[in-house]
Symmetry: C2
């Protein structure tokens, strides 16, 4: 604990703004002492707060589950060293108490985490093997100019195979370039193949790209992508849940994938082998309620098998997308949807009309979509789809009609019933 | 009418067995005098029978619609000449009164035709422009050894672009070869590209292949495929609704497409441009309740645009298939489905058990599938899917379970509630 004074307030000022050093050290300790997305440790922090949770872990309190999860490192973890290393490597340490914590992106993980906690208790505290638990992280290490708080809005996960074909890299680059030009942030991992093709294209479009690494940000993996990490760390955002020095081992890739899903408004799988990392990311996206899209490819290519599996799922099949024009309405805001429809300015809705009569004029699908809206909270198209039982694409097509009719209000956060309808009658 | 005696019974014996010459001549006249799939003419035959219908057309009776449909040829049509030409070219003339009329394949067209008739009356007798009406043909011209009565059972339509890519031809050939080896009849048109690739592969597998031509069978179109027509006419089946000598013009391709759909247990679109002939065939298949499948391809290929459109339809999207193994359970009989599941012979159902208790043990999906069965009539998986609201693939997966449990009976025509359940209680 001797390093705390060395870090000092000026030093931590470069790490994260306006957060007490004790809190940073507690979060850094908790972030190091257990593997990411560990249910007992997350629950401990949730129940007791980070300061008390860190004290309990150090004192070997908190129950058997916590003890098991932290046994390997509860003595060796050295948060001061981690924060110092982060400073040396130009990383910021972002915690939920920081002003730039991506609350919007992690709102879905907070929800799924709470649900998972109940399930975990009900199942006798068994932990799922082989995939990351859908919990928010305890802290993040980041580098770059992009604002983490905007993550999850107007952003697209572009994921796929390391051993991508020329076809896959071409499609990933085409999607990333065009979407980045339209101010959609690209989110991906740091691997060869689809990940790298997407980042490079977004960089060349001078757009924002977000690279979520499974290991510490001082150790770019694979090393051959070190220059790519460097470039993303300058104009975009490098993000990792792993403290500096951490090697990226397999479980960390799976827990990392939930962050890619959380940071994306929707996820596109470009090429993927059967049961691959990309299909794992797609699974996280489904869990979080993010639309999953997949690009088809030749059936003769092993690299398209995973995409075709996603497209033919009986439950929640992926949306088939063939170009950025297909993806934009799904990850963009309402403007993208309305831009695509004719006569937007020509037909002003009659605001004096009786709302009930207006609703009666809607076709059955638009009516169902309207009924899937919430009165006060803005909802995203995928949530409206889930609530209304109407397919996501149909929802996206129906929303401009509702908007032109003056029945909905929109914001970056989605759609809700128009104020004039709410005032006059509860819906 | 002077040629009737020349044809004689021995001559017509080669054309079609056991059908009165007058009937053949009447059908040949009606088949020639109007374009195929003409609603007023079909209605006339339906209401009055072919002999009286032919007399009425010749006498310019039957109403304005019939007159308009037959005005161009009601004098020039020469059924004796058509039957003579057919004999010269080795064709048989098959009519609904013939023992080898494909009643099974056309049952769906009889249903859709009857529905269309009601709609046509309700809409003031307007005729749809640009696509073939879903009516059964009045007669067929055929050549080849394959039995027309088996058409529509264990058969697959493989359709796609003329300007197919090497990828598309490869996939079409692979599907046709493997399915033909498994005794699935291949059905397609006579065009270059996907059609020809499918027929050639089925021929090389020594399977049955059915070529449905838009023009007269004495005029192979395109002429470059004349040898292919020849080979199919030897070991498979050449079929046309057009009398000998008829040139294939565009409307005939569209009306021809409904026959490809009718002859197929399910239709696979391998490569297709947007709004192409193959997507028209897929539309007919949907109308007839035949499963539509599509093979995805590179999104960079214009020849895959039509397939991707079919796969992303909001309503009735095509099933994504990547290999013959995906297609076989959909176009094959129950044996294909059961072959794929483990332990078929090991678990004999206990026939003494109480049926109600057995039903209660089913999972919810299987239970819904069972409830979608009809008691006396055999239903195909796609019909069961429509009745139960369970997806076609899930229906296909659930049926072996129901069969192993002794809850269903099967035949070539599909599935129904097992007799032992029907006897003991009405379901």
């Amino acid at each position: 604990m001797g390093c705390v004074s060395e870090l000092g307030s000026s030093a931590t000022g470069g790490l994260t703004d306006g957060v007490a050093v004790e809190l940073l050290l507690a979060r850094a300790y908790l972030n190091r002492v257990a593997e990411p997305a560990n249910i007992p440790v997350w629950k401990l922090v949730r129940d007791h707060g980070p300061l008390e949770a860190a004290r309990m872990v150090r004192a070997r309190e908190g129950g058997d589950d916590v003890l098991a999860a932290t046994a390997a490192r509860h003595d060796s973890a050295d948060p001061e060293a981690d924060l110092s290393a982060a400073q040396r490597h130009g990383l910021r340490f972002v915690v939920p108490e920081s002003p730039d914590w991506p609350h919007f992106a992690f709102a879905a993980l907070e929800r799924t985490g709470a649900r998972r906690l109940v399930q975990w208790r009900d199942e006798g505290r068994r932990v799922r093997v082989g995939s990351g638990e859908p919990l928010p992280p305890l802290a993040l290490w980041v580098r770059g100019d992009a604002d983490p708080t905007t993550l999850g809005t107007r952003s697209v996960g572009i994921v796929g195979a390391r051993a991508a074909t020329a076809y896959g890299e071409h499609v990933a680059a085409e999607l990333a370039f065009t979407l980045a030009r339209r101010d959609v942030s690209v989110v991906s991992g740091g691997a060869y193949g689809i990940d790298a093709a997407a980042h490079r294209a977004a960089l060349s479009a001078e757009g924002t790209t977000v690279l979520v690494s499974a290991g510490g940000l001082d150790r770019p993996y694979p090393p051959g992508n070190a220059t790519l990490f460097e470039r993303v760390g300058e104009s975009g955002l490098l993000v990792s849940e792993s403290p500096p020095g951490c090697a990226p081992h397999r479980p960390r890739f799976l827990t990392r994938n939930r962050l890619i899903a959380a940071f994306s408004t929707g996820v596109v799988v470009v090429e993927a082998a059967a049961r691959s990392g990309a299909t794992n990311t797609a699974g996280h996206a489904r869990t979080l309620g993010r639309p999953v899209m997949a690009v088809p490819g030749p059936v003769t290519s092993a690299m398209s098998v995973g995409c075709h599996e996603l497209l033919r799922r009986d439950l929640d099949p992926a949306l088939l997308v063939t170009s950025a024009a297909d993806v934009l309405p799904i990850v963009g805001g309402l403007s993208e949807v309305v831009d695509g429809s004719a006569g937007v300015t020509a037909r002003a809705p009659d605001r004096r009309a009786d709302p009930r009569a207006e609703l009666d004029q809607l076709d059955p699908t638009a009516r169902r979509v309207f009924e899937g809206l919430t009165a006060r909270r803005f909802a995203r198209p995928d949530e409206i789809a889930a609530r209304s039982g109407v397919g996501p694409l149909e929802v996206i097509r129906a929303l401009p009609t509702l908007d032109l009719a003056g029945l909905v209000e929109t914001s970056d956060a989605g759609y809700r019933v128009h104020e004039r309808l709410r005032r006059r009658q509860p819906i």
